[in-house]
């Protein structure tokens, strides 16, 4: 049995937020693939849970006038299979379909992946590349923040007291005309944590790169964008030489750490190689010939 003290099944955003406001120790649970494991490990003794999996507004992907609205309590497998996601932002499908294994993807949610703040989260590089915005609701009201501003450090995100993630928003301008690739590098092909993740998201203008976004997971304590590499690419004719230059710059922007899972040097090599491969593939998918 899990060491759980209390459990509230919230059925609306308001109910969830007021449950959080009423109890500063309360924790959100949606899929449980992260929270339950932390409880089992003894990291959250006497957990007081507020469950949001049964709040209809938090589940599913919808197209709005401005873009896409992704319910944070949507399981990975539903995101991966969603027609809007596959059509407009396939890099997110590519990311979340590499989380854990099929059973975990049926239960784990994209909102949970963002909320736990891990640099290794498989949705993060794609969401960073998409300039995702997060809609957050607390007793103080609603606010929208850029995803890059939400990650504060390893495992740390910018939740205000009693705040709930209610939507992940992607603007049309961030996906119309773009194509790309997410590459997860892990030791195993499934059931594994990312050693390094790279997402390249590209828009072409003929033989020129109109826009390029490169986002990386595990290249630093939080997911990062490789802004200098992007700047060096935008407006240039795409070529293998350009990509090699981009990869060198991306390496210089990486700040990977040595841990028992992988050394800094190993991760730098992966940044170089994965950026090279992801950008080339993004160019190809955007219609370029390289």
């Amino acid at each position: 049995m899990y060491d759980i003290k209390s459990y509230i099944n919230a059925t609306s955003i308001e109910a969830a937020v007021s449950a959080l406001a009423a109890n500063p120790n309360a924790m959100i649970i949606a899929g449980g693939s992260d929270v339950l494991i932390r409880i089992r490990d003894g990291k959250k003794p006497q957990a007081e849970l507020v469950c949001i999996r049964n709040i209809p507004e938090l589940v599913g992907v919808t197209e709005t006038t401005t873009g896409l609205r992704i319910g944070p309590a949507t399981p990975f497998s539903k995101i991966a299979a969603n027609e809007l996601v596959k059509k407009y932002i396939p890099i997110l499908a590519e990311g979340v379909s590499q989380v854990g294994g099929p059973q975990v993807r049926n239960v784990g949610t994209v909102g949970g992946n963002v909320s736990n703040g891990a640099t290794s989260g498989d949705s993060a590089p794609s969401l960073f590349a998409l300039n995702a915005k997060l809609e957050l609701v607390s007793p103080e009201g609603k606010r929208v923040v850029a995803i890059a501003d939400f990650y504060k450090g390893p495992g740390k995100v910018d939740f205000k007291p009693a705040e709930l993630l209610t939507a992940i928003l992607i603007d049309k301008s961030d996906y119309q005309g773009y194509r790309g690739q997410y590459i997860k590098y892990s030791i195993r092909k499934a059931m594994d944590i990312s050693t390094l993740g790279v997402c390249a998201w590209c828009k072409l203008d003929g033989t020129k790169i109109a826009d390029l976004r490169i986002a990386m997971g595990v290249a630093a304590p939080t997911p990062i964008r490789s802004r200098k590499a992007e700047a060096a690419a935008i407006g240039q004719e795409y070529s293998s030489e350009l990509i090699a230059k981009i990869a060198d710059i991306a390496v210089s922007e990486g700040k990977p750490r040595t841990s028992w899972r992988a050394s800094r040097e190993f991760r730098l090599q992966l940044i170089h190689e994965l950026v090279t491969r992801a950008v080339a593939e993004a160019v190809r998918r955007a219609g370029g010939k390289i």
């Binding site: 049995m1 899990y2 060491d3 759980i4 209390s6 459990y7 099944n9 649970i29 449980g32 693939s33 339950l36 494991i37 089992r40 469950c51 999996r53 497998s77 854990g100 294994g101 099929p102 059973q103 975990v104 049926n106 239960v107 092909k189 499934a190 059931m191």
Partner: protein, 166 residues
């Protein structure tokens, strides 16, 4: 703290009070005495505890029992009737996909969801779809063969004289 939940288990409706601390695995094994579902890691890594919830494969060890309310749950015990095995069980037996047998119920449940999905799967797809179930005995070789065979049999069956259950 207890909550009453109502669900179907292998086709039979049940209502019972569960502790909020319990996992679905604990309810299935300890309360319903369906011990075919195994505990291998407790953290959703090995897949030995896989059950079908509304037709999809879940690790029951990391699924809170209270979430089962209103759900249709299937375990290995519901897949055979007397001597009659399901298509997937038959394929596992015939292809030598079973050794120690501890991972077998989980593999059979995940494979069953594939056979019922109506989708087609290449051998690589099968490997990816079964990636959440670990096995130390077989090197997965005969499990891949069994899953291929079960999918083929289910497909042929559904084509004409479908038995209605795989």
């Amino acid at each position: 703290m207890e909550q009453k939940i109502t669900f179907t288990i292998n086709g039979e409706e049940k209502s019972l009070y569960v502790d909020i601390r319990e996992s679905l695995l604990e309810v299935v094994r300890d309360r319903l005495e369906l011990t075919g579902t195994k505990h291998g890691c407790g953290v959703g890594e090995c897949g030995a505890c896989t059950v079908l919830i509304n037709g999809e494969a879940f690790d029951s060890c990391i699924y809170m029992a209270v979430w089962a309310d209103g759900k249709d749950i299937r375990t290995i015990e519901g897949e055979s009737c007397g001597e009659k095995l399901s298509v997937v069980q038959t394929a596992f037996l015939e292809e030598g996909a079973v050794q120690c047998g501890f991972c077998t119920p989980g593999f059979i449940m995940t494979t069953t969801a594939l056979t019922e999905s109506g989708r087609e799967f290449s051998r690589d797809d099968i490997k990816r779809e079964l990636a959440g179930n670990m096995c130390r005995c077989t090197g997965y070789q005969n499990i891949a063969n069994a899953a291929e065979k079960a999918l083929q049999t289910a497909k042929e069956c559904c084509g004409e004289n479908c038995c209605g259950k795989h």
